[in-house]
């Protein structure tokens, strides 16, 4: 017996013979399961259209957003320009993608996860499930993972890779080792050994810039990083350095959180044709701001910081952000801030290739409180936003397009869900 109800046996007295492990529910061994959908967009397309199965499938426009494992055999990777992909694999099927459909599939996958784990932190195509202390309820983690994989396959037709470990980093790395359709479980105590020989770029928190810095120190594997002391890492990378010190030893203290309030909501896209026309840039910015703000309002938030970024035609990038005096959820106020940033950033006489906006610093909405000052105008704008959101929820985003965005979209195709952009705007 491991756990005896609420701890009080018949007659209400506490059974003294309980094994110490009976109390493990209060401090269980951590057990994290990472679920990652294999080649997500491409797999959904293959599920939807059986003729695509077994063939190299690419989803994306301009660059590869996702490609099937058949395509990966030709050396294709996400982020690769389509022109290059066509050269490498002429027989590949290239699709623009049906992003709302993908979201529906992801939702179903995460629903399954929530049935098997008490706490799930879901992203676009992956989820962390906290299985700590659930063994008595759900069975061993391996059994849970097997059942989950089977259920997802049955409900959606998608295959997922599952990694199980004592923390989120290890779970994700273990899952990556078993791709595709894998199930890898790493026993407790073997974390440091597991990460030791992996190349340094596999370590979360190490990007291009840091790889360069570490290469100069002849650090190639995660194990090599252990020669650096906590203090030197801290001196090199600040607070991140401390995290890296732990991570290269297979430790990661980040908890699994149901993300009720996201860190940020961003929307960005590449222009179909690079442009320096103010109307087009502002039009697209308005459209993106509207999309981001609508996503934010749907989950009942308002934000206080707006960031915008641009990329010139020669790939040079600039970004900046500003904090608003009071939190807002109005399209017009957010756009004003975003537009101000872009105007400040776009100083060169070069065309823009990419533009994006990001909302952050969220707080819960005002919960119906009517503002005392500036109520009239603001209230009108708020009800306008509510009406637009309502319309769009029912008939799709493109049922009503703001005049400003029309400038950007005069020769853009659109469907129910809005403009068909070159790179779709999705939030991870």
């Amino acid at each position: 017996m491991k756990f005896n109800g609420n701890g009080s046996g018949p007659g209400g007295s506490f059974p003294l013979y309980l094994h110490p492990s009976a109390f493990y529910l209060s401090s269980p061994d951590p057990c994290i399961m990472h679920v990652d959908i294999d080649a997500f967009f491409a797999s959904v397309e293959q599920v939807r259209n059986p003729r695509l199965r077994g063939r190299p499938v690419i989803v994306g426009s301009g660059v590869i957003a996702s490609c099937s494992y058949e395509a990966r055999e030709y050396g294709l990777r996400a982020g690769m320009p389509l022109a290059r992909a066509r050269r490498l694999c002429p027989q590949a099927v290239i699709l623009e993608g049906h992003y709302p459909t993908y979201r529906c599939f992801a939702k179903r996958v995460f629903e399954s996860c929530r049935r098997h784990a008490p706490r799930v932190e879901a992203y676009l195509d992956e989820a962390y499930c906290d299985l700590s202390g659930t063994a008595d309820l759900y069975g061993t983690p391996r059994r849970v993972a097997e059942r989950l994989k089977a259920e997802i396959k049955e409900r959606t037709g998608l295959s997922v890779s599952v990694g199980i470990g004592t923390n989120r980093m290890i779970a994700k790395m273990a899952g990556a080792a078993g791709k595709p359709d894998g199930l890898v479980m790493l026993e407790q105590g073997r974390e440091a050994e597991f990460v030791e020989d992996l190349p340094i770029e596999k370590l979360p928190g190490v990007g291009r810039v840091r790889i360069e810095a570490l290469r100069r120190l002849s650090i190639a594997t995660i194990g090599d990083l252990r020669v650096l002391s906590r203090r030197s890492l801290e001196a090199m990378f600040g607070a991140d350095g401390r995290a890296l010190y732990e991570r290269c030893r297979g430790r990661d203290g980040r908890a699994i959180k149901e993300r009720e309030i996201p860190q940020s909501i961003g929307r960005e896209t590449t222009f179909h044709r690079d442009t320096s026309e103010t109307a087009k840039i502002e039009g697209m910015l308005y459209y993106l701001t509207e999309r981001a703000a609508r996503a934010m309002r749907t989950i009942g938030l308002e934000c206080r910081s707006v960031a915008a970024h641009i990329e010139y035609t020669d790939s040079r990038r600039r970004r900046s952000s500003r904090t608003l005096p009071v939190p807002t959820r109005l399209d017009s106020e957010l756009f004003k801030a975003a537009c101000g940033i872009v105007k400040r950033l776009h100083t060169r006489r070069a065309s823009l290739h990419r533009i994006g906006v990001r909302l952050c610093n969220f707080s819960p909405g005002r919960s119906g409180q009517v503002p005392l000052f500036g109520g009239g105008e603001r209230q009108k704008r708020e009800s306008l936003c509510r009406c637009l959101d309502g319309l769009r929820r029912k008939y799709g985003h493109s049922v009503i397009i703001c005049g400003k965005s029309l400038d950007a979209g005069e020769n853009l195709r659109k469907d129910r869900y809005g403009f068909i952009l070159r790179t779709p705007c999705l939030t991870k």
Partner: protein, 370 residues
């Protein structure tokens, strides 16, 4: 510097300065209190650079003049714990010696030259206010100032000097506004609007704790200086634009009802226990002769409080954040408050006496969480 002071009076003065001694560790200099023996009086001063206060200590015999900075956190508890009735203090090259009948302490001080002192009282533009009136006004408004992030100007209280010796204090956050109007002595007929930070105004009201005379105040160089016979304070004024408060005080309303203050406070408070952070709303429902206050949170429960009221007419209702109502009712002394409103969407006015107006913006229940 050398002097003999009455322990109780000195301790009282030091305690009074506690509110303005800088508690942050950024500026060690301002964690000190300045003691200045001059012209046969001992003055204590402290500042956190937002508000500064200086006051005279009674019953001091000065043998030689001088100035010294003493760490506040050291000297105050020490003086407080000293059993003797009088204390003699002296300065010896930067150290303060404190001597009683059976003890001797030497505390390291600081050089007082860089210490920002409270400026002299301006000669012009002086307004005089009765200390009790000031306290009354501050008590009725200060609680309504905005806290935390947001519009900076709302962190202060607007003070409007108008025609015919009128003075108004206005405090507001995004959802409510408190307005009180009284008379002052304004011999120069000054008309101006200034925003005083809440701490500054509260310190000004506390000037009346010592001293008996009227409080005089004036502005100079974006600062407010106020004094009475015992103490003088200075505070930086808040820069910025206070929103137009006259616009949001409704002039007409369809429904007007007199409500008993205490009973209403009790009812709102009790109903408030059935609210959560997410659904922080109490609903007022008027029917012929009665008021029903309800609150409901899906994960907590439901509250329903009835009270008889003098209301006749069709049913009407409005919903508020209970805190906005409670805080106001808690400071109103009159037995009855008058509540005036038009519909569920427009601001509601509470009136107590002729001089106090409190406007509170309603909460739209059906829009919670949208």
């Amino acid at each position: 510097m050398k002097l003999v002071a009455d322990r109780a009076a000195l301790y009282h003065g030091l305690q009074r300065l506690g509110a303005v001694v800088d508690s942050s560790t950024q500026q060690p200099l301002y964690q000190h209190v300045k003691m200045e023996a001059k012209d046969n009086e001992l003055r204590l001063s402290a500042t956190d650079l937002e508000v500064g206060l200086t006051l005279a200590v009674r019953d001091v015999e000065i043998e030689s003049e001088g100035t010294i900075l003493v760490p506040y956190e050291r000297i105050t508890p020490l003086i407080g714990a000293t059993p003797d009735s009088s204390i003699s203090m002296s300065e010896e090259d930067g150290k303060v010696g404190i001597k009683t009948e059976n003890s001797y302490f030497r505390i390291l001080g600081e050089d007082p030259t860089d210490f920002v002192s409270v400026p002299q009282f301006p000669a012009e533009g002086v307004v005089e206010i009765d200390p009790d009136v000031l306290k009354y006004m501050v008590r009725r408004t200060a609680f309504a100032t905005a806290a935390g992030k947001g519009r900076y100007a709302l962190h202060g209280i607007l003070c409007v000097l108008g025609k015919e010796n009128a003075i108004e204090l206005v405090a507001a956050d995004g959802a409510r506004l408190a307005h009180v109007q009284k008379k002052v002595s304004n011999p120069e007929g000054l008309e101006q609007e200034i925003i005083i930070p809440r701490e500054g105004l509260e310190q000004m009201a506390r000037l009346a704790d010592a001293g008996s005379e009227a409080i005089r105040f004036a502005t100079s160089e974006r600062r407010l200086v106020a004094e009475n016979d015992a103490a003088r304070m200075v505070c930086q004024l808040v820069e910025g634009q206070f929103p137009n408060y006259r616009e949001v005080i409704p002039t007409t309303s369809e429904i007007s009802v007199q409500l008993p203050t205490k009973e209403l406070l009790n009812a709102v408070r009790r109903a408030g226990y059935m609210t959560t952070k997410e659904t922080h709303v109490v609903d007022f429902e008027f029917t012929d002769g009665s008021l029903t206050i309800t609150a409901e949170a899906p994960d907590v429960g439901r509250a329903e409080v009835h009270m008889p009221v003098d209301y006749k007419g069709e049913g009407a209702g409005i919903a508020f954040n209970p805190e906005n109502i409670e805080e106001m009712l808690a400071i109103v002394e009159r037995e009855m408050v008058k509540m005036k409103f038009t519909d569920r969407r427009s601001p509601c006015v509470f009136k107590s006496g002729l001089d106090y107006t409190y406007v509170v913006s309603p909460v739209l229940r059906d829009e919670i969480g949208v």
